[in-house]
Every structure is written in structure tokens, then in C-alpha cells.
Symmetry: C2
Subunit: 395 residues, 2 copies
């Protein structure tokens, strides 16, 4: 299981179980389902996945934001790092991005999953209108009402329901993430098992056991000291898209008022040591760092050659770990507050735990600020302006 | 050519040509070559590219930071958005990331380009030691001295030289970016033409003509008002990696002291409207926004269907533009300072101009702060600690 090392966090926290308990009650009162882990749909997902096995060469997801980011992360983390992807997530409406898909898929052997909880996301609906003229194989993942639901009913399209009480950015462990994952051979039961074990930590009133609570506490306290950014920096190529998933979660959940909002910053070890470290080390003290170390980076790969003394007999695995420690120690030396998550390996189990860890931490963080972490009122104006511009009604 | 719209920048600037001229002189005094555009190596690059035409199915770049980010951006911006990439940039040392390359390339038909200006980047050298046991086809891009240069001399490997006075993060328009680009069929002459035209703007003492100067001025003034982040948000799937290139440029060039450092934030339109907009609209006023509109998004792709009134007769091209305007207007309405770059299209010419625009802006920004934008002293400690940890000399 994931271990948490907060020794360089820069802040002494003194949390009682009453405080944890009080925040858990507030979260419970919001009626959110993300930590309930709806596994009653799992059988239906697995059954469907096995019923279409071998039928499709490509899977296309039409979805944006919370309908896309978890799935992109799952594929990057758990599938081959170089082979062409079997699953294409179209999370943009760039016309060339849509049009050029023609050149790589055979629509008669392609399954398209349309995901929109409201059933009315304009980007996703537009994409559906476009691809239904090319392809006949659709599945919808949507809420109980809306245009997508109506269309699915009329056309007899197979549909899965997004749980009412789980918002898009908290939905990776529902059918939204689980169905695409199952279709590319990811073990969703192991994913849920990891999530459930972390959920138990999230619900544990003992603050020493509750990693989500500890992280939220530190983010909150550092935020109060003017550190308006949280940098997440995993040392694993497999987790390069995990930080994008977390970016949405933190930004939309907590960015709510001129006084309340932490900006998530994605980084990747060791790559971004050569792109961001200079700023992190010498620049302003405006960041709190969450480093992620992956213990098992796969079979050991040795660095051959003897031209460089300090690389003799060293493996890439060891070099990766050592650079992670060197960078973390340098941050600490430069008085940049940081914590480290030790993840045994990037597999379904640990990834499930990571998703739940940060969903829980974000829910706690909302309660620290006393805001609703589960809505997004700020995006309405741009949607309204876009519709007015399209219909000319702004005149 | 690129046009700059600063009407919602939130700050009135009143710049004289004397100020521009003074900063240009300071930049000149630093002896940097990024804006000189070394085109004397272009013939050698084109000649080499044509000499190996048809010989290789895959190109692999071993390089990290400034040796990788420009090339990744060039491929994403100018090649097919879905077809498997011919060029693989290995900008990490994750052992699985290296090992799994075996499954997708035939090393007898693969050319490996090793890029390290110092010739001593440990990550890149380790990768070279690893791949030279699998592959016989190498090119080196390196400085006049160092281990890579010595090895290349000894082994008779074809080498290209990185200009002495151009640092890694400013090197995309040198052989570092141009050679890989030429090998995948990118028109490097057009790239340089766009860069040269923007270079002329950068050297223009008239502030109204000098887009790089105008952007730097705004970043500096907003930074002084507590906006410690620059968000760059292009509305084009082709530019998703351009922001990663810029991230390094801004972070490493300007992040120099506890008082001086702007954190670059990458975003993508319309995708990140569904991931970051809530924070941008309602959250703290700690960001300055650079929106990038691409006028020509390729052949028009219509949105069929008549179920949604406001989408009837609309193309994806128009929807993309309208969402960009809706989001920009909402930022302005919420008093979030923003500017817009209007880019005619994503092609070699305009991409060359974009690179030069932000290299120039970053050079000016360094002079506003009175710092050296061209070094990176802050990364030395973590390198030292890593070496000590590897050799046990820290004990």
C-alpha cells in the first residue's frame, strides 16, 4: 500500500481525531457518492466487455474534462508505453483532430463511447452528430435524463448510467472510467480494490492513518502562507497523465473565490528536472510539492559502459530513484516544503488507491475552506456567451 | 503574420523606443545567439537529411529538456494527429520507457540522434550507452568538447555542433530542433523564415511593432501586482506541446531568486475549459493569460444534425473560435487580464515566428528583472546530491 512521508513538509500539524471526524460528517452531509464506490455496475461492465471481445480493433471515447482525463491516465499508466493506442480519447473539437481519425480506424471495427453526464455537453454532442454518420457502433454513458438519454432510448443504443451523486471530475472509478478501461483489458476489480482500501483510510478518524486528510491539511496551511500552487511530480513515465487528472480535480473543486483557489502544476520526474527545477529551487517560495516515488519501475535495466565513473554498475531504476532523492533533498535544502508518496508500483491496485487518495484529499480541502468542492458555477458565463455568439442573440 | 491583441490586458503601458533600445543593448551585451538564427548549418542539415532519405523507418531522439521539448512540439504541430509517430523522443530514463521501445522499432532501420550540448548530461549518456548495444546508426548533436564529442571522434560518428552561444532552451531553431524536424519532412526553411520575420520585430525599437517587448512588459507589470503565473492557452490540438516548450523557457530563464520567478501554466482550448476554467474565472487573481487563436484550423468540418438549435449550420471550426471568444470574454468580464495572439495557421512559418516571439519576450523579461535569463545555477545542487548518492561519497 502507498506510504506517506511528510518529514520535509515544513509545517508541524497537530490534528485530533475529532477534527477529522467533524470534516467527515460535513462531507457526508453533501451527499456525494465518490467514496461509496458503486460496484453494482461492475458486473454489467464486465459482462458487456466480454460480450464484445474481439469485435473491435479500436475504441473511441467522445468526452471532455472528467469524461476523458481518468481514461487517458488509465491507458497511459497501464498499457504499453510505445505501441499505438487502441483507445482514442477525443477530448477536443479541433476539426483536424476529428477529421484525421478517419486515417487510422476502420469504423466497422470501432466502438464509440459517448460520455456526458448531463447529456448536453455541446462539444460531445457535436462529436456524436459527426461520428454517427461514419460509424454504427455506439455506447452511451450518461445520466437518467437529457438529450443523450432520449436519443439512446429512441435508437436502442446500449447505455450505462453515471451515478447521480458523483460529479464528472470524481467519476473515474464509476462506469465513466471503468468501461473504457475494461474494454482495453485493464483489471477493474483490482482498481476498485485499491480504491476501497484507500477509502477506508479516508474514512479513518485517526489522522495518522488518514493520508488524504494529512495532505489536505498541508495544502491548506501552505495556501494560507501564500503558497498558491501545488506541484505534483511523479517519477514514472506511466504517471505522466495522472497529474493531468489531478489538475482538473484540484482546480475545479477548490478554485471558487478570489480568496480560495490553489493552482495545480503538473511535472514529471526526471524529465522536468531539466525544465522546471531551476524555478522550483531558486524561484519564489510559492509552491507546495507532492513528489511521487514508484518503488518498482519494472525489470531492472542496467546502464552499460564504463566511461562515466558514477554510472558504473548502476541501473536506470536506481538512477531514477537516486535523482528523485537528489531533487527532493535539494528542495528541502532550499527550504521548499515537500512530501513524498511512496507507491509500490504502477498497477491497477495502486492506481485505484491514488485516485481515491486525491479525491478524498480534495473533499477534505473543500471543508477546510468551507466551500462546496463539488460544483462549478464559474464555467456558466463562458458557456452562455458562446451560445449567444453562435445564435447572434448577444446583439 | 501573427497579430497581437492587448485590449483586455488590464494595464496601460506607455513605452518609449528608448526603453526598447536600452533593453536590446543589454541583451546584445549578453552575447547570446538565439536571435542570430544560425542558418549556415542549414545546408549541412538538408544535405544529410537527403542523404539518409528512405533509409530509416524510425528516428529516436535521446535528449532531455531543451534537447527534447522543441522537437516534440514540432512533430505534434506539423504531423498527423493520430498516426503513430515516426519520431520517438526519449526524454526520460524510466527503464520501462526505454525497454519497451524494442517492441516498436527495428534497430537496423532506426536512426538514433543523441543530443547534449555539454556532452555530459547523465540521462542522455546513459541512454546512449544502452542503445549503442542495440543499434549501429547514430548522429550526435553536441558542443565542441565533452564526452560525446570525444566518443564521436573516436567512433567516426557523424556530428553536428550546437552553437556555443545558444542555450538548450533557446535552441529549437538550431540543429537541435532542425535536424530531427528535417528528418521527418518538416520544411525547416519556412520555419526559419517565420523566425527571421519575428526576429525583425524583436529587434524593432518601435514598441508598437515589437510584440515580444509588449508581452514581456505585461508579464513584468502583472508579476509586480502579484500575478505570479502566466497561463498560455492555445486553441488548437496542434499546439498542445507548444506550451510545454514555453514552460521550460519561462521557468528556467526567469525563475532565479525568491523575488523573481513566474510560473508557466499550460492549458489547451477547448479541452481545459472543462478542467481549469472554474479556477481561472472564479479563483484568485494570480494569473496573466495569453490566449492563442488559430484562424485557419484546416478544412471546415460541419456539425451535422438538427437536435440542438444553436449548433445548426455551425462547423467545428466556428465552434472552436466561438468558444475561444466566449472564454476570453468571460475572463475579461471577471477582470482577469488577458491578451490574444492571432495566428493565421499552424504551419512551419508561423511556428518559427511563435518560437522566436517567446524567446524574444523571455530575453526582454530577464532585462526587466535585471537577471541573467540564460543560465540555470539552481539545478547544480540536485545534480551534485545525485552523484554523491550514487557513489556513496555523501557519507
Amino acid at each position: 500500500m502507498i506510504k506517506f512521508d511528510a518529514q520535509n513538509s515544513g509545517i508541524e500539524t497537530d490534528v485530533t481525531s475529532e477534527e477529522v471526524s467533524e470534516k467527515l460528517k460535513k462531507i457526508e452531509a453533501r451527499g456525494q457518492g465518490f467514496y461509496k464506490i458503486v460496484d453494482d455496475s461492475v458486473d454489467e461492465i464486465l459482462e458487456y466487455a466480454s460480450s464484445v471481445e474481439g469485435k473491435y480493433d479500436d475504441i473511441v471515447v467522445l468526452g471532455i474534462g472528467g469524461s476523458a482525463l481518468g481514461t487517458i491516465c488509465l491507458q497511459q499508466a497501464l498499457k504499453h508505453l510505445h505501441k499505438p493506442k487502441k483507445l482514442h480519447v477525443l477530448d477536443n473539437i479541433d476539426p483536424t483532430f476529428l477529421r484525421e481519425l478517419d486515417d487510422v480506424v476502420d469504423y466497422s471495427r470501432t466502438l464509440i463511447i459517448v460520455i456526458s453526464k448531463s447529456g448536453g455537453t455541446p462539444e460531445t454532442l457535436s462529436q456524436y452528430f459527426y461520428f454517427r454518420e461514419k460509424c454504427e457502433n455506439f455506447v452511451f454513458i450518461t445520466g437518467p435524463t437529457g438529450l443523450l438519454r432520449e436519443t439512446g432510448d429512441k435508437e436502442g443504443i446500449k447505455m450505462f448510467e453515471v451515478p447521480e451523486n458523483v460529479g464528472g471530475r470524481f467519476s473515474v472509478l464509476t462506469v465513466v472510467g471503468l468501461l473504457p478501461a475494461a474494454l482495453i483489458g485493464i483489471d477493474i476489480l483490482a482498481l476498485l480494490k485499491g480504491a476501497q482500501e484507500m477509502r477506508d483510510k479516508f474514512l479513518n478518524e485517526n489522522p495518522n492513518e488518514n493520508i488524504p486528510y494529512q495532505i489536505a491539511t498541508l495544502q491548506y496551511l501552505h495556501g494560507k502562507e501564500g503558497r498558491n500552487m501545488t506541484v505534483m511530480m511523479p517519477y514514472s513515465q506511466r504517471l505522466i497523465r495522472f497529474t493531468d487528472w489531478y489538475r482538473q480535480l484540484l482546480a475545479e473543486s477548490i478554485g471558487k473565490t478570489p480568496e480560495v483557489g490553489l493552482t495545480p502544476v503538473s511535472a514529471l520526474g526526471v524529465t522536468d528536472q531539466h525544465s522546471q527545477s531551476q524555478l522550483y529551487m531558486d524561484g519564489p517560495d510559492d509552491k507546495f510539492f507532492i513528489m511521487i516515488k514508484v518503488e518498482d519501475l519494472g525489470p531492472e535495466v542496467m546502464i552499460p559502459g564504463d566511461e562515466v565513473d558514477y554510472l558504473k554498475g548502476v541501473s536506470f531504476n536506481k538512477l531514477m530513484h537516486t535523482e528523485q532523492k537528489g531533487t527532493t533533498d535539494a528542495l528541502t535544502h532550499n527550504k521548499k516544503p515537500n512530501v513524498t508518496l511512496n507507491v509500490p508500483k504502477v498497477d491497477e491496485y495502486n492506481l485505484g488507491a491514488l485516485f481515491m487518495l486525491f479525491e478524498g484529499a480534495t473533499a477534505f480541502l473543500g471543508e477546510f475552506y468551507g466551500i462546496n468542492a463539488f460544483d462549478q458555477p464559474g464555467v456558466e458565463l463562458s458557456k452562455k456567451l458562446t451560445k449567444e455568439l453562435l445564435t447572434g442573440s448577444e446583439a
